[in-house]
């Protein structure tokens, strides 16, 4: 169920769009509305952000008055046009960028506090859009071990985590290969393994399907659906988002303009159009399709 935002509850200033969905109910009820995640009483939020704003050094705003709460175990899609602030939001949550304003709690840590920020990699993993930014070592196994070694874990535990992470992404056979000789899909999985080896409670994935062929994409969906962690996934691939997320945050110009169950928000053609997106094909008409060999042409449906 979706709720129109009362103007007094708006995140930031600006005109209230007719389609602007944000929960206007008590925070403890938010997740109960968002698909499969049960209501979580009290302070059991994996991510809590209140009125967060970030401006680039030259002064242009990137995020404005962001407010969101994500329960442990939730899988949340972050969608929006280019330049909406999806990556910036992730970098702020990971403590890489420090917002000028607002309150943030990520897995109980405040990323704005340098001491707490240093401990955040134990709890939060960020997979970057370009895997080459993340794969810095000369073998896949060394790269996957990079994070656990930084956590100061003993050798046996690091090796156990490396094996487990490589198994989780199906790259056991590639452990001694040079990361940049891998295919794009394998690179993406190696980068994901590097983060999974740190056994984070929260996983942020920035454009995980970029450069992936259909098989790589399918493998990634299978890997993600097996993971039992809180996930935020930023992607333009809305069909992919539909398969791995129950809730969606729609960002545009640094603001959250909609937050709710993914199927309902992504099927709102007017909302999607207004923010530079399109309704995913699978939500435009009932499936499965009529076979192409059928003598009866499929009637157009919307």
């Amino acid at each position: 169920m979706l709720y129109l935002v009362p103007s007094s509850f708006q995140a930031g200033e600006g005109t209230v769009s007719r389609n602007q969905y944000v929960d206007s109910v008590p925070s403890s009820m938010i997740t109960s509305m968002n698909g499969n995640t049960p209501a979580v009483p009290g302070n059991n939020w994996a991510i809590e952000v209140e009125n967060m704003s970030f401006r680039w050094p030259e002064g242009s705003p990137a995020l404005e008055a962001i407010r969101l709460r994500i329960a442990a175990g939730e899988s949340v899609a972050v969608v929006g046009p280019n330049g909406a602030g999806k990556t910036t939001l992730f970098l702020c949550l990971a403590g890489v960028l420090v917002p000028q304003q607002g309150q943030i709690r990520v897995a109980g840590f405040d990323p704005r506090d340098p001491m707490q920020r240093r401990r955040m990699p134990e709890k939060l993993g960020l997979v970057f859009a370009d895997s080459d930014d993340q794969l810095i070592h000369w073998t896949v196994a060394d790269d996957v071990a990079f994070g656990p070694l930084n956590l100061g874990l003993p050798e046996a535990e690091v090796r156990r985590r490396v094996d487990k992470a490589l198994r989780a992404v199906g790259l056991e056979q590639a452990r001694d290969r040079v990361p940049f000789h891998l295919s794009s899909g394998e690179k993406k999985r190696a980068a994901l393994a590097g983060v999974l080896a740190m056994e984070p409670e929260i996983l942020l994935l920035d454009e995980p399907t970029i450069h992936l062929d259909p098989r790589g994409r399918r493998d990634l969906i299978a890997v993600l659906n097996r993971l039992q962690v809180t996930r935020l996934i930023a992607s333009h691939d809305l069909e992919f988002q539909l398969q791995v997320c129950q809730r969606v945050l729609l960002l545009d110009q640094g603001r959250i303009v909609a937050d709710g169950p993914i199927r309902e928000i992504l099927s709102d053609a007017e909302l999607m159009e207004a923010h530079g997106l399109e309704v995913p094909h699978s939500l435009t008409h009932p499936h499965p399709h009529v076979p192409i060999s059928s003598s009866q042409p499929e009637p157009p449906r919307l």
């Binding site: 970098l91 990971a94 890489v96 240093r118 990699p121 134990e122 939060l124 993993g125 960020l126 970057f128 370009d130 080459d132 930014d133 993340q134 810095i136 070592h137 000369w138 073998t139 196994a141 060394d142 071990a145 990079f146 994070g147 070694l149 930084n150 956590l151 050798e155 690091v158 090796r159 490396v162 040079v178 940049f180 000789h181 590097g194 983060v195 740190m198």
Partner: protein, 255 residues
């Protein structure tokens, strides 16, 4: 772009299997000794031994030749000029004087250069880079230096790939390099864009490292364990490339 050295580094000779710490220690010791040798016979004999080790590692001659080719071009100039420019006893043909001392000097310099380059090839072509870097760390090379080496090598290929993509894009739009202001401007723009891209990538790489808990100290999983055979092989490298040439030189020529 591929790592051509890496292609050979995955071979299966005893040198490929050798512990990188022992290999590094042996090759560096021998290389320093060869550079310090002042008798031309020692590096010449060492050069022959190095060639045999390269062959023993299963590296093809034509590959070794192509790798040492550019060095040979420079050395050829040196070998041609030195005998005629250094004074000392020798043969005189009219205005031209051929000096034995110059010839020895040329042989010393050329043999030193070829031997040390051959040893470097032997090291790089038989050791995967991850093991080489681990070896450097184990031999107490400063972590920052190893980190810089690793990251530079890692990303120089990526930058090279980006350069080739930009070049292809230019060619696809009809660009051909000529000696003109337009060409120089285009080249400057390409170089500028590559510098900006590398800086942006460096920032993203740093962010990704911070997100994985990097605090400035480069950590590695322990690699190979040294065996007795590694020690024996390292000793054999030192003996054949340095001690035997030195002994033969002393025995046969008295110096």
């Amino acid at each position: 772009m591929t790592l051509t050295l890496r292609d050979w580094a995955t071979g299966n000779s005893p040198l490929h299997r050798m512990d990188s710490r022992w290999k590094l220690a042996a090759i560096l010791t021998v290389a320093v000794a060869i550079v310090l040798a002042d008798n031309w016979r020692i590096p010449v004999l060492a050069c022959v031994s190095t060639g045999l080790w390269l062959r023993y590692a299963g590296l093809p001659w034509n590959w070794i030749g192509s790798r040492l080719g550019s060095l040979a071009a420079f050395l050829a100039l040196l070998v041609t000029v030195l005998p005629f420019s250094v004074p000392g006893p020798g043969w005189t043909f009219g205005p031209i004087h051929f000096s034995f001392r110059g010839m020895e000097l040329a042989a010393l310099i050329a043999a030193r250069a070829v031997t040390v380059s051959g040893l470097a090839l032997l090291l790089l072509a038989t050791t995967p880079l991850d093991r080489l870097l681990r070896g450097l760390v184990a031999l107490r090379v400063p972590g920052l230096a190893v980190q810089l080496l690793s990251m530079s090598l890692r990303y120089v290929y990526l930058l090279g790939d980006e350069f080739f993509r930009v070049r292809l894009a230019l060619r696809s739009r009809g660009y051909r390099h000529q000696f003109s202001a337009h060409s120089y401007r285009t080249t400057a723009n390409v170089v500028g864009s590559l510098v900006v891209r590398s800086q942006e990538r460096a920032e993203r790489v740093a962010q990704a490292m911070l997100c994985r808990g990097f605090t400035g100290k480069w950590r590695w999983l322990p690699g190979q364990r040294a065996r007795l055979s590694d020690t024996i092989l390292a000793s054999m490298v030192v003996c054949t490339v340095w001690l035997v040439p030195w002994f033969l030189s002393a025995l046969c020529f008295g110096n």
